[in-house]
């Protein structure tokens, strides 16, 4: 039997609010909920927090693109998403961690209800959401490799994305004057 879901109360609260935000197309709230989960993900590094952060953020990005709702498979896709969220809430309330994890996984698999371009777009959104959340965890202070390992991506992907986020500009990150470090390198090659 796998371990329990950490911070169960918090996770339930996030899922309930996410469901409400999806129904009202409240993208801002969805993104905030995802950010909230990232704090837990950085500390506990459990797959549940990570999955929820990624899925909620991906749904925010999918809903944000209003043109997707014109695709014929859109209602089928959203129905599958809503069903999985309802089931995830219900299973977590019953402390059925294994079923809960399958339900969260099913949200991602709901993309299979779509076809053609919509399916490709949504898959792309989910992939980018993974890298976006990885970048957020890296910003929180976890190392590049550890973060890549947690999210199941390569350090190459994360490095490429993180380079554009200004992570090095955080004042706490500046630990030595450039001249001193350059001098160290220069002296080493004399």
């Amino acid at each position: 039997m796998k371990e329990e879901v950490k911070e169960k109360g918090n996770v339930l609260d996030i899922l309930r609010k996410a469901k409400s935000a999806i129904n009202s197309k409240d993208i801002f709230t969805l993104k905030e909920l995802s950010n909230r989960t990232i704090h837990n993900a950085s500390i506990y590094q459990d797959s549940d927090s990570i999955s929820i952060a990624v899925v909620v953020y991906a749904l925010a990005k999918v809903i944000e693109r209003s043109k997707y709702s014109y695709y014929k498979d859109w209602p089928v896709f959203m129905k599958a998403v809503n069903y999985s969220i309802d089931k995830a809430i219900s299973d977590l309330e019953k402390d059925d961690a294994d079923s809960f994890r399958e339900d969260i996984s099913s949200i991602r698999k709901a993309v299979n209800k779509a076809s053609g371009n919509l399916k490709r777009y949504i898959e792309d959104v989910f992939r980018k959401a993974l890298i976006n959340k990885a970048s957020r965890i890296y910003e929180h202070g976890i190392s590049l490799e550890q973060t890549a390992y947690m999210l199941g991506i390569t350090p190459f992907e994360l490095s490429e994305y993180a380079g554009k986020t200004g992570i090095g500009d955080v004042s706490l990150s500046i630990t030595m004057p450039f001249e001193k470090r350059f001098k160290r390198a220069w002296e080493f090659f004399k």
Binding site: H39, S42, I43, Y44, Q45, Y138, E139, H140, G141, I142, S143, L144, E145, Q146, A148, Y149, T154, P155, F156, E157, L158, S159, E160, A162, G163, K164, I167, G168, D169, V170, L172, S173, I174, T175, M176, P177, F178, E179, R181, F182, R184, A185, W186, F188, F189
Partner: protein
């Protein structure tokens, strides 16, 4: 004392993605020492990306450096054991909500481990990612960073700090500037522009260097 430059994954990745690995063989000429990577780093910069089309070329370019003897995969007998020791030390340095925060993975840990095992070498770590560098140079800043991002109190185990504080770190950005200053990188631009281009290229491919540091660097050239 022989010299050793130990590269972690992040620095190799920055160089590879900027097509600047070619600088390494030139730097190595006349250098009394070795350029090392660990097997754990090799896994991240060659073995895994070789299976991913998007990064296959970069992986092959790094592999080429090994085949040419520019980069050596160094795997002393006790590296695995020492890597695990480092990983445990690093990953018990900070705690929040009574939970130890895992901050380093095996690749990063292996670089510290190798530096520690090469007692007869004068070693320099080449690390572009931020966490390892902060762990060495200002762990208190890393604790503050965690606190500000996690919005909760973070405790630091100062006992473990000792292992890391003697490491010396540079980045691929400094390596590129050394190469430039030695005439090993030629660019059709005045020095200031060339320096700016090299440093922003490293920054945008993941090297943790700030705009402020880049401005500082440009004043040196």
């Amino acid at each position: 004392m022989k010299k050793a430059l130990i590269f972690d994954s992040s620095s190799i990745i920055t160089l590879a993605m900027n097509n600047l690995l070619s600088v390494l063989p030139k730097l190595k000429e006349g250098f009394d020492g070795s350029f090392f990577i660990t097997p754990q780093v090799k896994e991240e910069v060659i073995d895994r990306p070789l299976t991913i089309r998007r990064f296959e070329l970069e992986a092959l370019m790094v592999l080429d450096m090994i085949k040419k003897g520019v980069l050596e995969v160094m795997n002393p007998p006790s590296l695995a054991k020492e890597t695990e020791r480092v990983r445990i030390l690093a990953n018990s340095m900070f705690a929040a909500n009574r939970e130890k925060i895992k901050i380093l993975h095996s690749g990063e840990s292996s670089c510290f481990a190798l530096a520690s095992l090469l007692k007869d070498h004068d070693s320099l770590l080449v690390v572009d990612e931020r966490t390892s560098r902060m762990l060495v140079e200002n762990p208190e800043n890393l604790r503050k960073l965690f606190e500000s991002k996690l919005h909760t109190s973070v405790i630091m185990n100062k006992v473990n700090m000792g292992y890391f504080k003697n490491a010396n770190v540079i980045r691929s950005s400094e390596l590129c500037l050394v190469s430039y200053k030695k005439g090993l990188i030629e660019l059709p631009a005045p020095s200031k522009q060339a320096v700016e281009a090299l440093l922003y290229a490293s920054k945008f491919k993941g090297c943790s260097i700030s705009n402020e540091e880049i401005s500082e660097a440009m004043k040196l050239f």
